[in-house]
Structures are given as structure tokens and as C-alpha cells.
């Protein structure tokens, strides 16, 4: 259960004259409940890799199987539903719908899933309480700090009860205090709910909190370290 199996994954950008091999043969298995950081220098292929795992980009070659389903084979509409129900996303910035309040943003995901109004509002409030901004649920993203916005994003990612959460440099725009708080929150969710987190980062302090660190360089894995 809850296994992502990546085999022989490639992504080649050949729009320009010189093709860019952004991901160049990655084999990887990620298990349920992992808290995994993808690290590597700029341009190494982290974003490209995460986008493919999240079903936002199509591999040039290779396979991504999630619980036995090859997501590369899903037609576009089904892929949208697949993302909705199985993958939580936290992006670097501008994650939220700016015209909806924190609570509405979190509830919206559940509305897309077809949950009833009362249920989704209740869950949204609870989640926002959990991520520590229970007193700001009626604020719009513009009236929240960057750190608070990212917490709402985490709450939203959790709301759909996904198989795993992908976060591409979730702390890139945060100061060190907010970075710490967000990481602690993610860890807490990982422990309490057994939610799988896969995130990329440049930040040494973020890496320190990860339990598995996968280093990518030039589109291939150069090291894969499992802590304790």
C-alpha cells in the first residue's frame, strides 16, 4: 500500500536546438509514510522530477506507478481527478485562490471531491486549527503572511486525504522562523496522519529534518541516504 514506483524515468526537453536531458534515468521507490527530501543544485532536475510524479508533466520515457496504476496512461480528464483524489500539492508561492478565504480555499478542494457543505467546512476548520491558524480562517491569502499562506496550502493539500503530498521548495519564500515552523508542521502531519511527504529544497535546515535525502544531479540520483 501507498507505494510510488518510478522506473527508468526520463524527461528530455527538445524544443530548442540542443535537447536538455532534465531527468535522465531515475529509478526510485517511495513507501507509505516517508518524509523525503529531493535535493540538488539548481537546474539538476528536481522540479521536473516532481512535476512528473505529480502528473503535471509527461515523462519522455519510463514509468511512474502509484499503487500499481501507471499515471502516464491516464487520459487528461482522469488525470485531473487522479490528482484531486490522490496527490496533495504545495507550491513555492501563489498556491491559493486569492479571492477565497483560508477556509474556503481548504473547503474548495473537498467540494471538488463532492463532499457536502457542512462536512467540508468542518474539516476545513479543523485542519486550519491543526496547522495553527484557526483564528484566521476568514482571511483571504493576501491578508496572511507567506508562512501562514503555506500552512493553509498544507491544510489544503491534506484536505483531500491524498496518498502523498508533493512540495516543490515550499520554504523558498519563507524566513527561517517560518521555515522551521512549516517543517515542524509537515513532520507532525507525517507522524500523526502517516501522510507521505516528498519535497525539494535547497535549504540545509530543511534537509536536516528529512528522514530520507535523495540527491539529484544532472537528472540522475547521485545519493540516496536514509536516516536512522
Amino acid at each position: 500500500m501507498g507505494v510510488i514506483k518510478i522506473s527508468n524515468l526520463h524527461k528530455i526537453y527538445d524544443e530548442s536546438k540542443i535537447p536538455v536531458k532534465a531527468v535522465n534515468g531515475i529509478d526510485l521507490t517511495i513507501k507509505q509514510g516517508e518524509f523525503t527530501a529531493i535535493v540538488g543544485p539548481s537546474g539538476s532536475g528536481k522540479t521536473t522530477f516532481l512535476n512528473m510524479v505529480g502528473g503535471l508533466d509527461v515523462p519522455s520515457k519510463g514509468k511512474i506507478e502509484i499503487d500499481g496504476i501507471n499515471i502516464g496512461n491516464l487520459p487528461p480528464r482522469q488525470l485531473i481527478d487522479y490528482r484531486l483524489n490522490n496527490i496533495g500539492f504545495v507550491f513555492q508561492a501563489y498556491n491559493l485562490i486569492p479571492v477565497l478565504t483560508a477556509q474556503e480555499n481548504v473547503a474548495f478542494i473537498m467540494q471538488l471531491q463532492g463532499k457536502g457543505k457542512n462536512e467540508r467546512n468542518k474539516i476545513a476548520r479543523e485542519l486550519l486549527e491543526t496547522v495553527g491558524i484557526g483564528d484566521k480562517i476568514d482571511r483571504r491569502p493576501g491578508d496572511l503572511s507567506g508562512g501562514q499562506q503555506q500552512r493553509v496550502s498544507v491544510a489544503r493539500a491534506l484536505a483531500s486525504k491524498p496518498k502523498f503530498i508533493l512540495a516543490d521548495e515550499p520554504t523558498a519564500n519563507l524566513d527561517s522562523k517560518s521555515t522551521n515552523e512549516l517543517l515542524d508542521l509537515m513532520l507532525k502531519m507525517n507522524k500523526e496522519l502517516d501522510t507521505t511527504f516528498i519535497f525539494s529544497t535547497h535549504d540545509q535546515r530543511v534537509m536536516d529534518k528529512a528522514r530520507r535525502i535523495i540527491t539529484i544531479d544532472d537528472g540522475i540520483i547521485t545519493s540516496d541516504v536514509q536516516k536512522n
Binding site: N51, L84, N85, F91, L112, Q113
Partner: protein
């Protein structure tokens, strides 16, 4: 759905000023369009109304009369003929007239005039001729007298109780002549009528112009419950009566009036089209910006699992909101004004007044409150908004998520 609605509505107000300016441009266009159309349609209504009171919706003649205008193309008015016409469900009244020409003479003066033999009790309620009396009295059923238009009276320099001599050609070539006391003088605002028309009782006209054939008339004026599909109804009645008769709608009898209205109407619609094209570009500009500045947001929404179809609904709502707010504001603002003008039409002067007079209309700018004027603006703006929303709709169903995220 309610959240999609909410997103659309709130998105509009993220840039309040831009949305307000766009809505205001729609508002202004609708306001102007309503004012213009109300005025135009109002004047057509009055024009048609005055034509219809004068000639009726439909006239029945002896075949060929409208072309020849000859007294020899008269026909016998019988009860059965009337009943046949009245058997058409849309007919409300059938009124006989005897229209002919004669030479009038009084003192030194001589002039041609048109004589309309009428049944006063039938004709006056619809044409309100007696309201135009400035002197004397109106005709009675078997009156021996004549009512002259004021222009004629002053030409002859004739007054009440003076006697005018008429001479003309009667049915089948007989000479029709007689002396008739002037019993009343009426004033028409239209010079053409004021200098030309005289009314006599039907019985007297028949006696003078057709002494040997009883009940001869030139015209049956047929009023209908409504004037829609006029040509069709005329044909229906012609079917009933047969080819001995011609049945003509007013549009066929007075093509110049129809042409005048159609020409003016086409001009108005052309103006509207220009106005609305400008508005369409205004809406499009706003919608274009709203789409481009939210590419990243759209990308994230689809990334986290929102179907593009739902996003399309959002952007469609936004465009429709802008348009409909303008329409509703325009209608709300113009309705009291148009209502006021409907009850207090603007008095006219100059060329316009002259034209109105020529059509036997009071020289006032009439306004119409016909609901279709309002619904048409609503439909036009809705169509423009719908068309404009194609751009963002096509964008949201086709954009590439990752490219949009990097934008």
C-alpha cells in the same frame, strides 16, 4: 456551483476601478441605445397609428380601384359582404367610405377637392374628426351639408351656412353636381389634408354621385385586432371574397411610409451596432487582462484537481456579470426617464415637426415603452458578453499547466 459563482464575482472586484469603468461603458451604451430606440420605435408607433386610423389596417376595394382611383371601380356594399369580412376572426370593424373627387366653387374661386362620404356614427369614433372642428358642427347621418377643411374654407373664403357648389363625374359617366351648405370647418395640421379634404354624409354622396345604383361605395375600411402578419390576413380575407375584390394592407397601400420607417430603422440599428462594437471591445479588453494576469492561478487550480470545464464556467460568469450589471443599471436608470418622456413627449420644431405634420401626427417626439426594446438590449449585451467570453473559455480549456505556472 455557488463557489464558482463566488470566485467569479469576487474576481471582478479585485480590480474595482477597471470593472466599474467597463460596466459603466456598458451602462452608457445601454442607456443611449434605450433612449434612441425608445424614441425611434415611439415615432414609428405613432406614425403607424395615425396611418391606421386614417386608412385602416386593411381596405377592401373593387379590384383595380387603388390603381385607378376611379369612381367606376366602385362596388355595392351589402350586408352579406360585410358578414363575409367579419367572418375572419381578427376583424373588429368594417366601415364603408365613398371617396371621390369634385370641383368646388364659391364666389370667384374654384378648386379641386377630395370628398369623403362617411357614415359619421362609424367614422367619428375612430378618426375623431369632430375633435378637429373649429367652427360649426359635425355631420349627422343623413346630413345634406358639407364639412370643409380649414385650408379649403379660407381658399374659398367661405363660412358656415354659405353654400358651396360641387361638380364632378359620377358613377358610369353621369354628371354629379349640387349645392351644399357648409355646416362645419375642421383644421388638420397636415397641409395636404387641410387644403384638400371635405366630408359629407354617405347617403348624400351616394345620392349625388350614384343616383341610379344604390349602396355604392369605393372603400371598406377594415380594422383588425392586431396588425401583425398584415399581408397574410389580407390574403385570407381576399380568399373569402374572391377576385372581384382587392384586399390591401396599409403597408401595400402606403409603401412610402413603410420605406420611411424601414430606412430610419436600419439607420438606428446601424448606430446601435457601432455602439455595441465599441462596448464589445471594452469588455474584451477587461476580460483579456483578467485572463492574462491570472494564468498562474488558473494553472494551480487545474493542478490541484479542478476541471477546466469548471474554470470555464467561472470565466463565463465573470463576463456575463460585467455585461448584465451594465444592462440592469442601464434599464433601471433609463426607465424612469423614458416613462416620463412617454407621458410628456418633447415638443418638436423645424424639419422634424414638418415631417411629423406630413404624417398627420402631432409634432411631438413620442417615446415607446415596448418591452422588446428593453429585452433586445439585454439580448444584445448578453450575446456580446457570451461571444467575448469565448476568449477566456478557450484559454482555460487549452492552456498548458506548467507553462502557465512559469509565467
Amino acid at each position: 456551483m455557488d463557489t464558482l459563482f463566488k470566485i467569479a464575482w469576487r474576481s471582478l472586484w479585485r480590480n474595482k476601478r477597471r470593472t466599474l469603468i467597463t460596466t459603466a461603458s456598458v451602462f452608457l451604451a445601454v442607456f443611449l441605445a434605450l433612449f434612441m430606440r425608445s424614441m425611434q420605435i415611439g415615432s414609428y408607433e405613432i406614425m403607424i397609428n395615425s396611418v391606421v386610423t386614417e386608412v385602416g389596417h386593411i381596405q377592401v376595394h373593387d379590384s383595380g380601384y387603388w390603381e385607378s382611383k376611379s369612381i367606376n371601380d366602385s362596388f355595392v356594399f351589402s350586408k352579406s359582404l360585410k358578414e363575409k369580412i367579419e367572418s375572419h376572426e381578427n376583424v373588429t370593424s368594417v366601415i364603408p367610405r365613398f371617396e371621390t373627387f369634385a370641383l368646388g366653387s364659391f364666389g370667384e374661386m374654384t378648386k379641386g377637392l377630395m370628398i369623403q362620404g362617411i357614415v359619421p356614427s362609424m367614422e367619428d369614433p375612430r378618426k375623431k374628426i369632430s375633435n378637429k372642428l373649429i367652427e360649426g358642427r359635425f355631420l349627422t347621418e343623413k346630413d345634406n351639408g358639407i364639412v370643409l377643411a380649414e385650408g379649403l374654407a379660407s381658399y374659398f373664403n367661405i363660412g358656415i351656412n354659405d353654400t358651396i357648389a360641387l361638380i364632378g363625374s359620377g358613377y358610369q359617366g353621369i354628371t354629379a353636381a349640387g349645392l351644399f351648405p357648409v355646416v362645419g370647418i375642421i383644421k388638420y395640421p397636415v397641409p395636404k389634408l387641410n387644403n384638400f379634404i371635405a366630408y359629407m354624409s354617405m347617403s348624400k354622396v351616394q345620392e349625388v354621385f350614384s343616383p341610379y345604383h344604390s349602396n355604392l361605395i369605393s372603400t371598406l375600411v377594415v380594422d383588425l385586432r392586431d396588425g401583425d402578419n398584415l399581408a397574410h390576413k389580407a390574403d385570407d380575407i381576399n380568399q373569402i371574397l374572391g377576385t372581384k375584390y382587392e384586399v390591401l394592407g396599409w403597408r401595400k397601400m402606403l409603401p412610402d411610409v413603410v420605406q420611411q420607417i424601414d430606412g430610419d430603422n436600419a439607420g438606428g440599428i446601424f448606430m446601435l451596432a457601432i455602439l455595441y462594437i465599441i462596448v464589445a471591445f471594452g469588455i474584451f479588453g477587461t476580460i483579456l487582462m483578467m485572463t492574462l494576469e491570472r494564468r498562474k492561478e488558473f494553472a494551480i487550480m487545474v493542478a490541484v484537481g479542478m476541471h477546466r470545464r469548471k474554470l470555464a464556467i467561472v470565466v463565463f460568469f465573470e463576463t456575463i456579470f460585467i455585461g448584465m450589471m451594465g444592462v440592469i443599471a442601464g434599464i433601471i436608470a433609463s426607465l424612469p426617464l423614458l416613462k416620463y418622456l412617454y407621458h410628456h413627449p418633447i415638443p418638436l420644431q423645424g424639419e422634424m415637426a414638418k415631417m411629423m405634420l406630413e404624417f398627420n401626427m402631432e409634432p411631438f417626439m413620442p417615446f415607446s415603452l415596448d418591452t422588446y426594446i428593453f429585452s433586445n438590449q439585454g439580448i444584445a449585451i448578453f450575446a456580446i458578453a457570451g461571444l467575448t467570453s469565448l476568449y477566456p473559455i478557450i484559454y482555460v480549456v487549452r492552456f498548458r499547466i506548467l507553462r502557465a505556472m512559469r509565467s
